[in-house]
Symmetry: D3
Amino acid sequence: MPQPDRVSALGVPDPAGLDDDLKAIWAKCVEKLGFVPNVFNTYSLKPQRLRNFMQMYNEIMLSPSGLSKLEREMVAVVVSSANRCYYCLVAHGAAVRALSGDPELGEMMALNYRVATLDARQRAMLDFAWKLTTAPNLVDDADRDGLKAAGLTPEDIFDLSETVAFFNLSNRMASATDMMPNREYHRQTR
Amino acid sequence: MPQPDRVSALGVPDPAGLDDDLKAIWAKCVEKLGFVPNVFNTYSLKPQRLRNFMQMYNEIMLSPSGLSKLEREMVAVVVSSANRCYYCLVAHGAAVRALSGDPELGEMMALNYRVATLDARQRAMLDFAWKLTTAPNLVDDADRDGLKAAGLTPEDIFDLSETVAFFNLSNRMASATDMMPNREYHRQTR
Amino acid sequence: MPQPDRVSALGVPDPAGLDDDLKAIWAKCVEKLGFVPNVFNTYSLKPQRLRNFMQMYNEIMLSPSGLSKLEREMVAVVVSSANRCYYCLVAHGAAVRALSGDPELGEMMALNYRVATLDARQRAMLDFAWKLTTAPNLVDDADRDGLKAAGLTPEDIFDLSETVAFFNLSNRMASATDMMPNREYHRQTR
Amino acid sequence: MPQPDRVSALGVPDPAGLDDDLKAIWAKCVEKLGFVPNVFNTYSLKPQRLRNFMQMYNEIMLSPSGLSKLEREMVAVVVSSANRCYYCLVAHGAAVRALSGDPELGEMMALNYRVATLDARQRAMLDFAWKLTTAPNLVDDADRDGLKAAGLTPEDIFDLSETVAFFNLSNRMASATDMMPNREYHRQTR
Amino acid sequence: MPQPDRVSALGVPDPAGLDDDLKAIWAKCVEKLGFVPNVFNTYSLKPQRLRNFMQMYNEIMLSPSGLSKLEREMVAVVVSSANRCYYCLVAHGAAVRALSGDPELGEMMALNYRVATLDARQRAMLDFAWKLTTAPNLVDDADRDGLKAAGLTPEDIFDLSETVAFFNLSNRMASATDMMPNREYHRQTR
Amino acid sequence: MPQPDRVSALGVPDPAGLDDDLKAIWAKCVEKLGFVPNVFNTYSLKPQRLRNFMQMYNEIMLSPSGLSKLEREMVAVVVSSANRCYYCLVAHGAAVRALSGDPELGEMMALNYRVATLDARQRAMLDFAWKLTTAPNLVDDADRDGLKAAGLTPEDIFDLSETVAFFNLSNRMASATDMMPNREYHRQTR
């Protein structure tokens, strides 16, 4: 049975009715990506929520940080793997493939990051991401000390933690709304 | 052994060095609450992250919604209970007590919401919050249909989901940084 | 919705019909505490069971031991936290607050004991309590050796274990009967 | 490697030094069973604790109740199976075999009670025992209503619950002390 | 860091030393697939084990059955998703993509099959596969009746069960030996 | 209620209709064991599947290996204990009793292997079996190194892993078909 076209179980407003700032973003997405990511379509049900989400996303994923953009995407995918979030695994798995140029790495992050050969710093970051996602109440000084021993500064730990935290938010928005990733992601950087 | 004073395991910058907009917020907190919530102190390590966090928080918890402010705080506490987040249970448990005027309700939300006597709509919201927190990959149409049957509109489901999602973010920031709640919360509305 | 008055889902016999020894205990409770704890009301459905429960409780929690009364109450609350037992968290959380004079410590024990700053001996006791509660089949010599290294004698380990075991009993009686704590506990030592 | 003789990891006092009431019980055990159950030997480290344990045990397992003695032993074994308690599975598995005359039933209770063919009332009791043991915080009115629909009175539910609760206590004492069952149990009623 | 070439943590014998029947299979694989699947390389450490594995695999996955070959591959991937088996997700994910011609379906099976739109019969098969993998002791008549209601015969249930069982075997061989999938799979049918 | 006679929920074909090779095996079982194991009766629904199963079983459990036959049966029982598989615990528990001459060891393997006194090599094998069964995705080099440190060669690790893997298959076939062990096992070597 072919998968039907769908975006969000809560419905998506007609983009023609969006405010101008959002219309401009829609146009820019089409220009740069060829499509509007469905997380935007889904969030457009509540426009101010969408603005806040994009603002936070851009700061966490794109602003200067001790973690590279690839590392932040790797963290995003590992968190989404722990939560089995289809949308984020597809969209950010594509980002790992694109930023690393290594399709195998993207699959490893999505399916079981423990099989990947990584340097100690990245492995420590991903182990922390998994634990903070699946058992946040067990995180303690030993975990933070492990990150410091692997070379992370307090600011790096903050950025790592917020990346983990943010995808725990976005994974749940995707699951709650049955958000479907745009099909274009599947073919990227294979 | 008396509990030592502490705020965040990642350290807190001197507030004297904060930007003016944040200094103004600090002053307003002291004026209205008598203290600056430690989540702000913790986040001030990265000022723009703090601004985004406050903006998202205010929209989710304080803007008009089909969920009352008390209901949103109840959801916040139930999510934090599932994640056993000390900071959020203390701070938002106080909010449930204050908004409801019912200290018993606050304790029930923090310790085991299933013992509370609630109307069907609130119970459905809290069951959804628990499931979306602990097993997001299992959420499906049956869960959304249950919320609709309890009277929630798609916009209400969006707001509920984002509240759940947001506290899954903030719980993890608190656990990752060993964030300590201000002691003033403990005595409020007992 | 205000929480309704209730004690036990199995019903509570009229105290006027109790045997004289129990009536005397009821009177003493009212005199000393201002109320009869609802665990007694619940158990009065089967009077001999109540007598045995009180006898075991008094020996475990009040008789001389290498563990202080406060430490035994801390263990009681941590076990009840693992089991999310509303009755015992409310009643014994109040006891931790009263015996320690530290309301913050009571909240930490109830919500996530791992955030508390404790000496190594108490931390070892609470870690053992958590493991013996949640994964008793995994307890082995390494755990007992850890307690000995923290200074506990075999008799102390016996007392610690029986405290853990007893609250695993009482937590389940409370959950099975939907036992509600007396409201007076909520306000004590805040 | 043959299994070494052992009773309790906390050590067992010389029975010659026991109080007379306990010596009399030891003698009676030898007379009736051929041996002193190791739970008594283990508990004799703290004689008053032993007395309370025996008193509670006798009331729960042997006094008149709407649950037959076999049913209470079946519950004991199912709880011990959930907790994987070696001592209680061996000792009470033997009791199920003896009371039922059906060695197969004893094995089913110990290994996976769901494979047994049981009447609806017994199956409801064992399902309740499993849930109250493994997820006590999820027990609610639906569970109690299920027991009532299967014919249990409030007093029966009390007795069932206390049996479950008691073996959650004794399983943990056995695991905490590495209590070994007497070898005589293995051969009984095979 | 580029992923190093590796096949099995237990080492792989020189194929030049293989028995003739296995050499013939190696040659056929190269001819038809372009490579020898690493599961064969890994198993060649014990040649007779490899023969038995191939024989069982061919019967389960390729012989006539009420389940189509695509359905059997979908079951294989869902089992491997529950077990987070990297090798089997990569190799059999490629098979789902190839047999269905639908890359999206392959991703859904690997990442979270619950998001897929499926007919009731296939959904029932995959729900059974998940439960039999993650909680085999809870499978009971209600599960088998559900399969029958969805149209499966006893023989179909046998075939479905053996497919689930077989991938629970092969997932564990892959995890135990750190078996790496051939890189060719990643690019197939994208 | 006496347990009814039953073999498999999927039904068992009349043995009179079996192929001659299987009839010969049936006759040999009756001659040597006094009965046809119900796993054969269950599998006879699909004769070629049965042949493959027997072939793999014989190779894994009976062919020369660095693991003794008793050790392989101990592994079989520990895997079946983790999966709570009634059939395999009964049938292979009997095998442990028979091969070791130690009924206590059989019970320990079935109920909680951690209570057994074992040499370091056997304990390492059983710990690996438990982990590979319950959390295969977490098995990594540290686990394999532990086995090597305990004296296992790569071939031994292969054999151990395949034994674990095979019983994860057979446990699921037993649970899926509600396979009942022949009653003769219960009385053997008690």
